[in-house]
């Protein structure tokens, strides 16, 4: 069904085109807007009332006029034609190929809004993704099917971190999340027999990378580094530039997630989606909302921002059972920059409500030249207990992580103490903690190249060996004997 309306335009305002309602259309239906310059622009119906229809134009509205504008209604929601050929390709924010190659052969066309998963059909995310970053793998593990945001700030190296995770992330042993459902033994009960076998072929792990409202140089950086690192072959890259229209920005993550869902649930892949930067997305949401004249809520962001973000973040997960789509998983790592480093700002706040934990980057660590500047104390991966331990990584991994956390928190206290009374005024134990804190940041948090989990764990045990045994209250005697006393 294709209906064309001509001469009904009454007002144009930024990305919004207001038309008299001369026909019955559905909310969020896709449209094409033809200007007198004969350029076709993609758009969608954003609001309808008795008299008017509001069209969100997803490309530049410069040069559009009221008289000469023709709008074609497609009679269905925006959709995305997908096929296995999307891997290794570069798209713009609305799913058009921009790498100069031929269009992608579509095996399936899906509406970009996706469909909510029935909560009962979801499987609990399990099993581990190795990112190559010690502070993540060891202490805030990413689990297949998890949604984990990275809270960063302006000027922090989150772009580099995103690219490095995309290049180095890999699966370890295990076959899929569902095979684990029948395993009821508590974590750590199965004896550990060497490194787990990698039974998941590497080609089953793919990346969907979406740059949302990123400047041109960052976009080029993403494209080049993925290409040079060889990761582009297993990546579908979506780039929405800062200069693209803000309405288009609202759709970029939806196109990217539709592609990811296709790869995960139609092609049985394990998909890691990296969305950067969600702050640009929320800013676009605020901009479009206020141009529609909606009542603003906190800091001018629309009241429905929570629900809107949920429609994106909830698209992570995996399905239970043996049916179609139950083999793949969709993991989300979304990056956002906290305005003025304020973690209570509506964007990080509402994101934290929906996601399963957060990774926080610290300006202080960055200033001291520590890369990646992950501040482990406020960071948390809520699903870590489901993806670590004997079945997935190592039986002593959770205890090691817990002890590192306790010791580093104590080191942070000792630092506050030392800043007042001086290092000389500290008790001997506190001085050892102080040294531990510095060593932790210099050797474990800081890294030049990707590390395997085994390397990260070895570093962790070595750091703990610097503390008196009486302080290691979160490790059992057996763990201390097996990992720490052998080092001495």
């Amino acid at each position: 069904m294709l209906l064309t309306v001509e001469g009904a335009a009454t007002r144009l305002e930024g990305p919004l085109l207001f038309l008299r309602r001369t026909l019955d259309v559905g909310l969020y239906d896709a449209v094409e807007v033809l200007g007198r310059d004969s350029v076709t622009r993609l758009g969608r119906v954003a609001a309808i009332d008795e008299q008017f229809m509001t069209i969100e134009v997803l490309e530049s509205t410069a040069g559009l006029s009221l008289e000469g504008t023709v709008v074609r209604f497609r009679g269905q929601a925006l959709s995305f034609g997908l096929g296995p050929g999307i891997l290794g390709r570069v798209f713009n924010g609305v799913g058009q190929v921009i790498d100069g190659g031929p269009p992608v052969a579509a095996h399936r066309t899906v509406p970009i809004e996706g469909l909510p998963m029935n909560p009962v059909a979801r499987a609990l995310p399990r099993d581990f993704i190795e990112t190559g970053i010690s502070t993540l793998d060891l202490m805030n593990s990413l689990v297949r099917g998890q949604k984990l945001p990275l809270f960063s700030g302006g000027g922090l190296p989150h772009d580099r971190l995103a690219v490095e995770i995309a290049s180095h992330a890999r699966l370890r042993g295990g076959t899929g999340p569902q095979d684990r459902l029948d395993v009821v033994a508590p974590h750590g009960e199965r004896p550990y027999a060497g490194a787990p076998q990698r039974t998941t072929p590497a080609e089953d792990f793919v990346i969907v990378f979406a740059g949302i409202g990123v400047p041109y140089d960052s976009a080029e950086y993403f494209r080049r580094s993925l290409e040079q690192g060889g990761a582009l072959e297993r990546t579908a890259l979506f780039l929405n530039l800062a200069s693209d229209s803000s309405t288009q920005r609202l759709l970029t993550p939806r196109f990217a997630l539709s592609a990811a869902e296709y790869l995960a649930f139609d092609c049985d892949k394990h998909v890691l989606v990296i969305l950067t930067d969600m702050t640009n997305y929320c800013e676009a949401l605020r901009e479009v909302s206020s141009s529609k004249g909606e009542i603003p809520s906190r800091k001018g962001f629309p009241g429905y921002m929570y629900s809107d973000l949920a429609t994106l973040f909830e698209r992570a997960g995996c399905l239970r059972g043996e049916g179609p789509g139950s083999k793949g998983t969709l993991t989300q790592l979304s990056i956002l920059t906290m305005p003025a480093d304020d973690i209570g700002h509506p964007i990080p706040d509402l994101t934290g409500y929906i996601t399963e934990g957060q990774i926080v980057l610290s300006r202080d660590l960055d200033r001291r030249g520590i890369y990646p500047p992950v501040n482990v104390l406020p960071s948390l991966s809520r699903l870590m207990k489901d993806g670590t331990g004997g079945q997935y990584t190592h039986p002593d991994h959770p205890a090691l992580s817990s002890q590192l956390y306790a010791a580093y928190a104590r080191a942070a206290q000792a630092r506050v103490l030392a800043s007042v009374v001086g290092v000389e005024g500290l008790a001997d134990t506190d001085r050892r903690y102080l040294q531990f804190g510095t060593a932790f940041e210099q050797t474990l948090a800081s890294q030049d190249a990707a590390r395997t989990l085994e390397q990260s764990m070895a570093l962790g045990w070595r750091l703990l060996a610097g503390l008196p045994k009486s302080e290691l209250t979160r490790l059992s005697d057996a763990q201390i004997a097996a990992h720490i006393e052998v080092l001495a």
């Binding site: 909560p119 609990l124 009241g303 949920a310 239970r320 928190a409 009486s470």
Partner: protein, 334 residues
């Protein structure tokens, strides 16, 4: 949500041995479902609870989280074009919260039974700020409050319930119940632990200025005992199948054991033993890890630990009367 739906069907009821799901109702509304349904979900849940209450059953209702429910209220109110109040929430937020929490009650049913609904609402305030509207209004209507502490959470101190910020107005009423579980001194011990923790909070501020070593011996001992209460009693390991839950009997035994430690330590201090040497006693590490090492059905091991504790202190006290021998100093610092 997937976690709850995945775990619950696998759980067995420890009392009947039947699947726990048989006496559970889950109202699931994930955040990508329609917002109006989110607003309705807690009313739906508490209505279900009242249905069972009226049959003379005791119902526990967990609402996670009422902040997201309030978020939905705010969104719907915005769509209606209502004037926003504090924090963008509608002005009727507090009366809606009161309506909800007031539905928790103990009732005599028409059938002559007693039924009850107990409500546990989780709140997730932005950046841990307890002065925000949902938290502050909820606190007006509830009698017990468990405050999760950021510092404890960051040190992976589980459960991160802050002992001083949390409160239970009905605590006194539980003393007879605890006495029935074998802990007649519960109220006294609880007060003692809380006093210790409160003193610790103040002393740490002081220690920050003058250094821990400069504190008098009595205050150093307070810090030692408070730290032990935290590590040995308040902290549990979620990873450990033994420590994940603790039976009332074990809690009572552990509480008494720690109370005994405090008594012995104070007596030793009076006899002139330095707190540093008490921190070096052999069984301290076992005390700190008793929650993880000694299971619910191994209570005699706690008694053994107590005997060792008595012996360790007995060795300390006479040694303190004279000059410490080299052996006892090694024992204290090794």
């Amino acid at each position: 949500m997937a976690g709850v739906l995945d775990e619950f069907p696998g759980l067995t009821d420890p009392r009947s041995g039947r699947p726990l799901m048989e006496r559970t109702v889950i109202i699931a509304n994930t955040s990508n479902m329609p917002v109006a349904a989110r607003e309705a979900s807690i009313y739906c849940a508490i209505t279900v609870a009242e249905y069972f209450r009226d049959q003379g059953l005791h119902v526990a209702l967990m609402a996670d989280s009422t902040s997201r429910w309030a978020e939905a209220l705010r969104e719907v109110s915005g769509r209606f074009g209502e004037l926003p109040g504090e924090g963008g929430y509608p002005a009727y937020l507090s009366s809606r919260l009161a309506d909800f929490y007031e539905r928790a009650a103990l009732v005599d049913t028409l059938g002559g039974d007693t039924g009850s609904v107990t409500v546990m609402g989780a709140i997730s305030p932005p950046s841990g700020d307890f002065s925000e509207p949902v938290t502050s209004h909820t606190k007006r209507y509830v009698k017990a409050f468990w405050a999760l502490d950021v510092k404890r959470a960051q040190a992976r101190f589980y459960p991160a319930v802050h002992p001083l910020q949390s409160y239970a107005e009905d605590a006194r009423a539980f003393a007879p119940w605890w006495a029935a579980q074998g802990n007649g001194q519960w109220l006294a011990l609880r007060r003692r632990f809380l006093t210790l923790l409160d003193e610790q909070a103040q002393l740490e501020r002081m220690a920050r200025i003058i250094g821990k070593d400069a504190l008098p011996a009595r205050q150093q001992l307070t810090l030692l005992c408070a730290e032990l209460v935290n590590e040995a009693f308040l902290r549990q390991s979620a990873f450990s199948p033994i420590d994940r839950v603790c039976s009332p009997q074990r809690q009572a035994a552990m509480m008494r054991l720690l109370g005994r430690f405090i008594d012995l330590a104070e007596a030793a201090l009076a006899a002139g033993v330095e707190p540093d040497r008490m921190a070096g006693i052999g069984c301290l590490r076992e005390l700190q890890r008793m929650g993880e090492e000694i299971a619910d059905d191994q209570l005699p091991r706690l008694a053994e630990l107590e005997a060792r504790l008595e012996r360790d202190f007995a060795q300390l006290v006479p040694a303190a009367a004279g000059t410490p021998t080299p052996e006892s100093r090694d024992a204290a610092h090794g």
